[in-house]
Amino acid sequence: MAIRKGLGIGSMYYGIGYGFSRADIGSAEIEMAEDGTTTVYSGACDMGQGVMTVVTQVAAEELGIEPDQIRVVAADTGSTPDAGPTSGSRATFVQGVAVQNAAAELREQILDMASRMLECPKENLAVRRGQVCEIESGHEMVSVGKVAHQLHFHGRRAAAWGWHDNTTADVDPETSQGDAYATYGWATQLAEVEVDTETGRVRLTKLVSATDAGKAINPVAVEGQIEGGATMGLGYGLYEQHILEGGIPRTNSLAFYLVPTAMDVPDIECEIVEVPDPRGPFGAKGVAEPATIPTTPAILNAIHDAIGIRITETPITPERVFFAIQEARIRGEFEED
């Protein structure tokens, strides 16, 4: 066995959202029923990454109620408003603010009505854990459900609408100068690889992903994004290639198009970095794409660290590495054991 180990890093920045003057919007409706249970009508698609949970937590935080009192209705042109696409790592960053705005307006309605009901100045009141409280004493005065009931009773519905326009103007057509995106995601990954110099096979043996979430609204969901992103990045770097010959696919089955399996995924250490962004909800920004982009570059640099050879073409198949080693040998540049 001729195994050599190497370490490499990859960094990236990624403009979050759509840029280029493309509509980059979020919107949501929120309604509290007479028992205080609340429904958020959010147009954002949950892809499994957890934006529905983010929406729930943002609404709970802003409104002052418990997450288990909130239900989210999502992504249906017949029942939810337009919240833009779930792509561009933008759902938390854009829709999070829209939901926060909707929840804040509903909270003000609750406090207005509570102030009338309690004959107490509004500025002395706050909503905490489903109760309207007196700020000074923390004393619980009335449940939000009772206040919502009064709003419904007077035809006020206890409902609010929130929106957020994150659209950024296109860059200059000649120079591409301008404020291209509202904000950027940031990430650095460290890859440890083993290169078999006899076969050219590369194994990723460890990955450390330092990804800036701004503020992790749900840390486990962020870790899910980091682990999934790194796995996808590993697939891009080492395995997945769609081969066409004369425009005809030669890899039109998973027998030929190789995706990473659980056996190929190493320990992934999630280092959640939090540099709060004032434009995101509670400082948060998206991590979906930042979590996948640095993996292949980190592997490429780790291979160079291991064997002193620079691979410039992806995917990094055993054949490619094997022939690169042979060519380096012919040039007398390969560092033999």
Partner: protein
């Protein structure tokens, strides 16, 4: 210490939030873990028909004639449709409407749908699809970057094969070159990648008693689907309802139209609920992929380890349709520097039509490819300078007050230094070291 309850209380009073930063359980976690979630492919509706697509089997051809009579006679078949049966524009496309729901006069890639079938069961639908005869005349396919850049090559679309050319210009490139002590130049090639969402493309459509076409689909954006479906099928937008069904992954693929227009057309024409579920093989061939890119980068740094310039060209193969490719490749161009302060820049990008599979949005959106190039360049510059690749990045990374490649001033939300520092701390805590640049002096 960690068991001391007072520590926890102190942390709680520090934290300004009740629910932000907490691991609230996803509402769908249990049903997903139990395998109870019904995806479109699991849904069964009374009276439901099964849809099937006949795909092109050649990348570039003129369609002379399509015979559907024999297919229509297969027992259990309710509809066999070609572009002539589409009541609307038959067009879609996220940047420009350059894709046909069903191929008209031309086939532009093997991912083009040519005809549709709806039948009582999947076997009948498949049999009927196999009996459709498509008479074609082959055209020379455009398959490489060089083919696409050749002005004399056949045009895939009327406007020519170079769909878009973008330019990034900043500072003074010659000055940057003059100030460089080291320069690294390389050509990078990245490949085509499939999203491989666990759930292949699928849709279920029905016309409800009020005449509204309802489409359940694993999508990333129901409103944009509606904006594309309605004109393609000649319906007013308020007669189209798109509902996101539980989705088994999208990764940018389902940002675009997948099964929506096809399954909607079959439901409109048959007045029956229709379900259309791709096989994995269809999913690997149809719809969008990650752009292959060719990137030529020349990057310099001064003797004291500061980046001086980037001079680069990026060619992206967007296939037979632009989809979001124009934005993907433009984004690659403005991210070509990576997260660093580069004062002098020339980058040109080219979005090229070919007869390969259409490329579109995929997690990473152009920056995936650009990072392969800029991060390889960064390490090579660091090695030539005899610097640690980590220190070289820390020295050059964007910080609040510095400007990106587009001249955008970074604000307090600029986190690259913090991520690099975190990796540096991780490495020093475990005494991890790169093999190089110790060998750098002999390496360069």
């Amino acid at each position: 210490m960690s068991e001391d309850p007072s520590t926890e209380t102190a942390e709680e009073t520090q934290a300004p939030y009740h629910w932000i930063g907490k691991n609230v359980t996803k509402p769908d976690a249990l049903e997903k873990a139990l395998g109870a979630t019904e995806y479109v492919g699991d849904m069964v509706v009374p009276g439901m028909l099964h849809g099937k697509i006949l795909w092109a089997d050649t990348p570039h051809a003129v369609i002379k004639r399509i015979e559907t009579e024999e297919a229509a006679r297969v027992p259990g078949v309710h509809a066999v449709l070609t572009s002539k049966d589409v009541p609307g524009s038959n067009r879609f496309g996220l940047a420009v409407p350059d894709q046909c729901a069903l191929a008209e006069e031309k086939v532009r890639s093997v991912g083009d749908a040519v005809a549709l079938v709806a039948a009582e069961d999947e076997e009948a639908a498949e049999e009927a699809a196999s009996k459709i005869k498509v008479h074609i005349e082959h055209l020379r396919p455009i398959l490489t970057y060089a083919d696409a850049l050749d002005p004399d090559a056949p045009k895939i679309h009327e406007g020519g094969n170079v769909f878009q050319h973008t330019t990034v210009r900043k500072g003074d490139l010659d000055k940057g070159v003059r100030e460089s002590a080291v320069i690294v130049e390389n050509a990078y090639h990245t490949h085509r990648m499939d999203h491989v969402p666990m759930e292949p493309e699928a849709g279920l459509a029905y016309v409800d008693p009020s005449g509204v076409l309802n489409i359940l689909v694993g999508t990333q954006y129901p409103y944009r689907d509606r904006r594309q479906i309605a004109p393609a099928l000649g319906l007013p937008m308020n007669k189209v309802r798109v509902i996101q069904a539980p989705i088994g992954g999208g990764f940018g693929r389902k940002d675009d139209i997948t099964a929506e227009i096809h399954v909607g057309l079959l439901a409109l024409k048959t007045r029956r609920p229709v379900r259309l579920v791709y096989t994995r093989e269809e999913s690997l061939v149809a719809n969008t992929k990650r752009h292959p890119m060719a990137m030529n980068f020349r990057t310099g740094a001064s003797a004291d380890g500061r980046l001086t310039f980037l001079d680069g060209d990026i060619y992206g193969d967007t296939g037979a349709g632009v989809s979001l490719g124009a934005y993907v490749i433009k984004k690659a161009g403005i991210h070509a520097t990576g997260p660093y302060d580069v004062p002098n820049i020339r980058v040109d990008t080219y979005t090229l039509y070919t007869n390969n599979l259409t490329s579109g949005a995929m997690r990473g959106f152009g920056v995936m490819q650009a990072a392969v190039a800029h991060e390889s360049q960064m390490d090579q510059l660091a090695h030539k300078l005899g610097m640690s690749p980590l220190e070289f990045r820390l020295k050059n990374c964007l910080k609040p007050g510095l400007a990106s490649s587009t001249g955008q001033l970074m604000n307090e939300g600029c986190g690259i230094e913090a991520t690099l520092q975190r990796i540096k701390d991780y490495m020093s805590a475990r005494e991890l070291r790169f093999n190089r640049p110790e060998a750098a002096s002999s390496d360069s």
